[in-house]
Amino acid sequence: MNAESWHRKDLLGIADLSPEEIRLILDTAESFREVAERPIKKVPTLRGKTVINLFFESSTRTRSSFEIAEKRLSADNMNFSTSGSALEKGESLVDTALNLEAMSPDLVVIRHRAPGVPHLLAARLRSGVINAGDGAHEHPTQALLDAFTIRRHKGRLDGLTVTIVGDIEHSRVVRSNIHLLTKMGSRVRVAGPRTMLPPALEALGVEVHTELEPAIAGADVVMMLRIQLERMNRKLFPSSREYFQRFALTRERLGAAREDAIVMHPGPMNRGVEIASDVADGPQSVILEQVAAGVAVRMAVLYLLSGVREEEG
């Protein structure tokens, strides 16, 4: 598969993608990666294209990553977040989207706390829609940047054992990663307190663990999820202290993984809750590489969805 054979208007989730499409995005991201190493970090690829970043949920990392990706591609971009917007004045989501559509953007990047919102907009808008996280459903560009990082370190995405630890029930990162890694032929284990495991996880093709050590044993990749401390009031876990005791990744526990295992985290981290500082900053950690990969992967997605090569051809 090459860029010419990409025909999707939207990137809504990993569940919809074929392994070939995933490979194409990652290969395209490789070619954009070196832009970050140039003295002038800008290419003209999306000149004259307009991208709207529509963030209905606070986000620093994902939004700035998209913004930088857009700017490096020379797109005109505009940020739209909930505070001070029409939504606070009672406008419906669909009306907001149609109003934005009237300004003829080429792409809309959307983050919303409700699953399915990118799908709702994609069905209404002529412009391409990129899901930047919809509730606990999907976060496709996060899984793609994780895969990009894993592939750079392991040289492949098949035959690996990847362990994901944390609040599985409320994580969009975990769902997109499960889809991507199982499609590419890796084995995925998930682990967390029983109160944070949703029902019927096995149906997604993963191994489910309720203890950390056996989940990590022999893993090539250990991915720790952010624990949302505000959930402590919601009957999921009693304290960050007890969580750390049972589920945090410490240097000692990491010893059960393969010697060359890498440690990942989608950020932002809670040091001392889900991950010990010496692991986060240790030699096996690739957490900051993930952030760098995010820009390259998002450039690739923006490029593929923008359809520029069709016009050039």
């Binding site: 669909v94 409700a114 699953p115 799908h119 919809d134 509730g135 606990a136 409320h170 969009r172 029902p199």
Partner: protein
Amino acid sequence: MKLLVRGGRLVDPAAGRDGRFDVLIEGGVVASVAAEIAPPAGCEVVDATGLVVTPGLIDMHVHLREPGHEYKETIRTGTAAAAAGGFTSVACMANTAPVNDERAVTEFIVTEAARHGFARVHPVGAISKGMAGEELTEMGEMAAAGAVAFSDDGRPVVDTELMRRALLYAQHFGRPILQHAQDLFLSGNGVMHEGEWSTRLGLPGIPGLAEEVMVARDLLLLAETGGRYHVMHLSTARCLELVREGKRRGLGVTCEVTPHHLLLTDQAVADTTFSTNVKMNPPLRSEADRQALLAGLADGTVDALASDHAPHHADEKDVEFSAAPFGIVGLETMVSLGLDRLVRPGVIGLGRFVELLTAGPARILGLETGTLAPGRPGDLTLLALDREVTVDPATFRSKGRNTPFAGWKLRGAPVGTILGGVPVRLP
């Protein structure tokens, strides 16, 4: 005024009839039912040759939205939808604005319904004032004005003591308590069934347990209080088992199920890419639950089919899945869905299907209708078993267009209703 319905196949399960019978109605009530009746002088004749004739169908669970939410539905449009859907009687829930928690509101509904004359309307009064779940309503006053049952539908009666008192007090008026069974702690902020599909879609789930815990609690109360208790829109296998067990023990428990819980599962949320027309409460359940409900229809555990007709304005449903209101319309699809998807494949026979829409609900609500015997109201429904229809919300009489069945091709349809001996003509 006399009306003879002649030449049809009469299916009246309560009367033990399934065959060629004529029905003569005089002065609004059934005068006689016989194999062949010669039309008396001055009698209007309805030729039902090739059609199935049933006692007027009853939908015991609808939301007519008036007073207060006339932009969603009115008593006029809702009863027109009922007639178009083959129903001569509906029971309407109390969650209007104001809530039907006092005699004046009950009287308003009865009067307004009589003014249009498309179908009989039996108001269901609220159990608690304002449906706030705290104080009992004046059930006696409402019963005198026509309330046939009591329910806080839309909201479960959470307070166990209130439920106990309601079960006791309603017995003075011979009325059942209809429960929307849902443990609000377990359902939390859920928007779909908790199971594989909620896990895949990342949507907060409503576990089947939320319904089952409540029904189990209520049945424990019922064993002490006596009286009659009805589970509305029952949706899970274990809940059905609780009802079955309750009946075996001789408790006054009944239940209804909806066509959507019989024909769709939680997978529909994924298959429709988050369509808000598959969002209802209780939610569409698992395939195992659906199969159990079908079995319960056949084995007699289920007492009634009901639509839970819940019209909403298109703008309210045209939002993100989590934010959309629960509920779908059902009055104008229930009969065809049942004939095509339950009767035609042999899940249940035609007689049982008719029973679930006539004698079943009539028994629960204590209605005179539901069977055709001399002196009973002259309400009839005519069905054409071979008529092919495609569900098209644009043709609905209801103001609500929120249905997951749009585009379904179905065989079998209602073709007319007769209310108190008068063929219902819709404008």
